[in-house]
Amino acid sequence: MTGPGDCADLNHCITCGDEAVPMRVLAIDETRGLGLCEDPDGARCTVELALVDARPGDDVLVHAGTAIA
């Protein structure tokens, strides 16, 4: 299984620590408050955007599926 924060990757694990990944916002679903984001390797996932003011094209710091900065 691969994906952002894959724990099998020794170099990174966003899911279990005080670690976060910079991602770019590609699109925002305003009704659900969720964004489609892409990490530097091109992997995409849905991200909770409620804690930040982000627009498509912005870089956000994502931890456990939530943009925290």
């Binding site: 005080d18 530097p40 909770e48």
Partner: protein
């Protein structure tokens, strides 16, 4: 990528290492604790320890959330995973943490429906897709992760989902820091403060480290130059006789934190009177539970959990590693009976654990390298 590549510049790193060397007092031994497991991982991944003068020692703190989960809480999780009809979801590393009778991965092999998720939102999605099953999310992590769980709980409530619940093991960073500072085992000169926890809580909560204990703390980022600069800022404070909270990670950390995250956490969580930490024992007001308004989504309210305190295996010295009293390679089972493939202790499980960082990046014995 912007704000990443610039902070991995080898030439600048070497220049910074030279400045660090120039700022230390010969004959004085400096002991600096990096609180966060993400820092520990970066330090060994990039070999930053080797760039520091011999008299600057980095000590690894309790900031890996997987590592501080005690065996009893793993057993509690397994008890929930074994409930009929339950889909038990958790982060990947959590699945391999040993309890007293195996891990969640072992429970899965024995028939429990345990699934790995990347975020609480994934667990919520599973709940929506399985309305006839109960979905439990095993929440772990410091203030970095807690807002994510809180937002998911708010969504679950707003959407009226009744088959979703959370077993909350979130912890807060300040109480264990204070416990470490009170410990007679440690003599520390300063702290590299946690970068992403501070993104949420800000740098202000760490002011007590200076005010009450007279130690400088520099909140730092996770790239090699971030950490080197953080160490340099601590050494400069010591050289100049200053003691302050400084923020090296200004590109991400606001001094007052993320207001929205703090608000949602305050709404969804409340402090437990005490919470057990592996290696550190019970620490008052250091763990979070769901607040009264969200008690109906609390897995521990839906099912009984054993709640039994379980002692660590005798051979395991994770407690001493988490307190920075010993280095991972000084543990009797490091790299022999305890490896990332077959971990005995939590610090060998997560890639952010100090033992796993030493093992994966070849720091089997510092003494041997010096000889």
């Amino acid at each position: 990528m912007r704000f990443v590549d610039e902070f991995r510049d080898a030439e600048l790193g070497r220049a910074l290492a030279g400045e660090i060397l120039a700022s230390v007092e010969p004959g004085r031994h400096y002991k600096i604790m990096e609180v966060c497991g993400g820092h520990t991982h970066s330090i060994y991944k990039y070999g930053l320890d080797d760039l520091l003068p011999a008299n600057v020692e980095l000590v690894h703190g309790p900031g890996c959330p997987v590592c501080v989960i005690p065996m009893g809480r793993v057993d509690d999780g397994i008890a929930l995973a074994r409930q009929p009809g339950v889909i038990f979801t958790c982060f990947g590393d959590m699945m391999r943490i040993p309890g007293s009778d195996g891990s969640l991965l072992d429970a899965k092999a024995r028939g429990a429906d345990v699934r790995m998720v990347y975020s609480p939102l994934d667990a919520l999605r599973i709940a929506k897709g399985n309305p006839d099953r109960e979905v439990v999310f095993y929440a772990i992590g410091f203030e970095t992760t807690a807002p994510s769980t809180a937002l998911t709980l708010k969504r679950a409530k707003a959407e009226g989902l009744t088959n979703f619940s959370v077993m909350c093991n979130h912890v807060t960073i300040v109480p264990p820091l204070r416990a470490l500072l009170e410990s007679p085992d440690l003599r520390l000169d300063g702290f590299v403060g946690p970068g992403h926890v501070s993104t949420v809580v800000g740098a202000r909560p760490f002011e007590f480290v200076c005010a009450d204990y007279g130690k400088p703390l520099v909140v730092s980022g996770f790239e090699p130059l971030d950490i080197l600069q953080g160490v340099h800022m601590i050494l400069r404070q010591l050289a100049e006789g200053r003691c302050e909270v400084e923020n090296q990670y200004t590109r991400v950390v606001p001094y007052e934190g993320n207001r929205r995250a703090l608000e949602v956490m305050a709404e969804v969580f409340e402090l437990r009177p005490h919470f057990e930490w592996r290696g550190l024992g019970f620490i008052s007001h250091s763990g979070l539970k769901l607040s009264g308004a969200y008690a109906d989504l609390d897995a521990e309210e839906r099912w009984p959990v054993p709640g039994v305190r379980v002692a660590d295996p005798k051979a395991c010295q994770c407690g001493e590693v988490l307190k920075g009293v010993i280095k991972p390679f000084e543990c009797k089972v490091f790299g022999t009976a305890c490896t990332p493939e077959r971990p005995i202790g939590t610090c060998m499980v997560s890639s952010e654990g100090a033992c796993a960082a030493y093992y994966n990046f070849g720091r089997f014995a510092r003494e041997r390298e010096v000889v």
